[in-house]
């Protein structure tokens, strides 16, 4: 008996709110190079501890250290730096375009560029990503034309999606990029289904599922993990933990679980945690997980520990729910600066050349933007036709829609 003790409800709160001093001292950050690299066919039971650590390659001095280092050549790293810088400039231009009223909505990647840019380089042609709204690096690093992305954002007359989708909800099958829903978590189990199909057909392609920390609370996350585990689907299950789900800190979705990676343990999945702001570490872990899938060993859960420096979208102001200085206090630094410092450290890069490349990238993005704007922006210039609105609901337009189109006068 508990002598009639009164119960009370636990509602978790972040450590700090606006006005407070940011404090990440409770986030344990292992030293770069300190986490072991198991063979890809390791028994998941033997690496349960990796779900509670953080795999890191770049140390404070910009040196690549430890068993996960060495998955990329200096040339590939240069390319990676360029992709991240492109994405950052693309974001800043599109964010401004939204403020100028050229589109209704935008979502940026600031601080998270390494995750999608580096992951993309671990995939092969034919593989399929099932992304959320914050993985445009998959497109940038996959060589998808920036102008097409902008056309989609502007919903102009060259929009590949004919103005039907919210800005940034791209679709690019030929580039291994599944149509973004805008719903949360639904794509996670679809990725598993796609991977199961590849296995059913004895194909060689693998899938990658993407989800954010907040959406792991959705039941489709559980559905995906059950299906992936049961059928050993060739899929990489990515969780991007950027600490914030709009205004809700990650603890609300994580609950009593130590980490998001640890969610995979109950399903018998090898579950790794990686420094999401470390391009080299992201790539090395992605490659490891992709190889497991490709060798038909099964799925892997990967948690990318990162920080959403910007707002969730153009529709919220983070200073209303977290300290403004929090991003600067984030202990894993900035992915672009860290890779730049590494390249300088190994002697293939310099501050001058970096500045020069920044300017070149800006010119490239501005040129693409001008080209896109020739096709119109949301409220001016060319736009998809009203006829397009009625097309594509079904392969063949049913009679009732034909009648409605007629009523609409198109």
């Amino acid at each position: 008996m508990t002598d009639g003790q009164r119960l009370s409800l636990h509602v978790p709160e972040p450590e700090v709110r606006p006005g407070g001093k940011p404090d990440f001292s409770n986030v344990p950050i292992p030293k770069a190079g300190s986490v072991r690299r198991p063979e890809v066919d390791v028994d998941p039971k033997e690496i349960r501890d990796l779900a509670y650590s953080i795999i890191r390659v770049l140390d404070r001095e910009g040196e690549a250290v430890g068993p996960w280092a060495g998955s990329l050549t200096p040339e590939e790293l240069m390319e990676g730096l360029k992709h991240m810088m492109l994405l950052r400039v693309f974001d800043s231009r599109m964010l401004m375009a939204q403020r100028q009223g050229k589109t209704s909505f935008y979502m940026q990647h600031l601080g998270e560029e390494a995750v999608s840019c580096a992951f993309r380089k671990a995939l092969l042609p034919g593989d399929m990503n099932f992304p959320t709204y914050r993985q445009a690096g998959l497109l940038i690093a996959g060589g998808y034309p920036m102008v097409e992305m902008m056309n989609q954002i502007y919903s102009n007359d060259a929009d590949p999606l004919k103005g039907r989708q919210l800005p940034i909800m791209y679709s690019a099958k030929d580039y291994g990029f599944f149509t973004i829903s805008g719903n949360l978590a639904t794509q996670y189990v679809q990725a598993v289904g796609w991977a199961m199909a590849s296995a059913i057909k004895n194909d060689t392609k693998i899938a990658a599922a993407w989800i954010g920390d907040g959406s792991t609370a959705e039941s489709d996350f559980h559905s995906a993990l059950v299906f992936a585990s049961t059928y050993r689907a060739p899929v990489v299950l990515n969780v991007v933990n950027n600490q914030w789900a709009i205004s809700t800190f990650q603890g609300v979705a994580r609950g009593g679980s130590g980490t998001f990676a640890a969610r995979g343990l109950g399903y018998g999945l090898p579950s790794l945690r990686v420094d999401g702001n470390d391009y080299l570490a992201v790539h090395a872990v992605a490659k490891w997980a992709a190889e497991r899938a490709r060798r038909n060993i099964g799925p892997t859960l990967v948690e990318y520990v990162t920080y959403r420096v910007g707002a969730h979208s153009t529709s919220d102001d983070p200073s209303a729910y977290r300290p403004k200085e929090e991003s600067e206090a984030w202990p894993l630094g900035d992915p672009v600066i860290r890779l730049k410092n590494h390249l300088i450290r190994i002697g293939t890069w310099s501050e001058e050349r970096h500045k020069q490349m920044e300017a070149e990238i800006r010119d490239t993005v501005v040129a693409a933007q001008k080209e896109a704007e020739r096709h119109g922006t949301l409220h001016s210039g060319g736009r998809p036709s009203m006829r397009d609105m009625f097309e594509g609901v079904y392969a063949e337009m049913p009679p009732h829609l034909k009648r409605q189109r007629q009523q609409a006068g198109v």
Binding site: N183, T186, V189, A191, G193, S219
Partner: protein
Amino acid sequence: MPRMTMIEAIRSAMDVSMERDDDVVVFGEDVGYFGGVFRGTQGLQQKYGKTRCFDAPINESGIVGAAIGMAAYGLKPCVEIQFADYMYPAYDQLTQEAARLRYRSNGDFTCGITVRMPTGGGIFGGQTHSQSPEALFTHVCGLQVVVPSNPYDAKGLLIASIENPDPVIFLEPKRLYNGPFDGHHDRPVTSWAGHPLGEVPAEHYVVPLGKAVVRRPGSAVTVLAYGTMVHVAEATAEETGIDAEVIDLRTLMPLDLDTIVTSVKKTGRCLVVHEATLTSGFGAELAALVQEHCFYHLEAPVIRVAGWDTPYPHAQEWDYFPGPARVGRALRDMMEA
């Protein structure tokens, strides 16, 4: 011509489809080794192997979500939701994903999936094994909704559904699996053995989606029905002596409006019957369409006979079911109007 029950015809449709096309896969709860709780997939795993017909975890959003991913890859999944009453966890995947892949991606990705689910009551299934949720699907643009009423149609419509490039919700009136049912629950059970629509070709054939059929020609009143209620309507016409024209809609979306309008303009009266609850049911859509398109031909208001707006009860099943007594009363009232 072989004779089949409706469940055998449904199984034959999947068999024929899997035989013809390696991309057709079948999965769901208990559908693999055991062959489904209604035996709809019996023998398919033995014939086509475990990777083409298999058991799924009890997770409807997972079943449909995985099927969507498979369709995006290029397969043609035909999945089973064990009872239509269990589809709600999958509703998000069906309505916002399956229904919209083609539209939102401008055809970059499509979703040719078929989702089978037993529907309707009459088997003392209570509130969680008797529902008729068709209106929850007809309201969703991008979905197609099929409800067969007999073995011949069930096979041809299911093959057409599996071959269709867009998602199809295939609702199987479970009370019809083993025999036609005219609503007289107190009479001996009949089988498909003596029914002309129990003659089902063993080979491939298609009953096209979007085509209704006149089941019983008549001149006095048009009865719009689908699934089990087709048999109830036919029996009621015979028993009341009212010369009703019974239309079996077969596909609710897309709807064969031409057949409906032609009939109502001829008879001047229209009764809509369905087993699902009345309010905001598919009958409301039918009644609206009939008055829009046939108003000047109508001699009486369009009447609906449907399940009462209550959960499907257990002990009161036959008080709930819109059987021949209620349908007959409505027909007589309409003729007097």
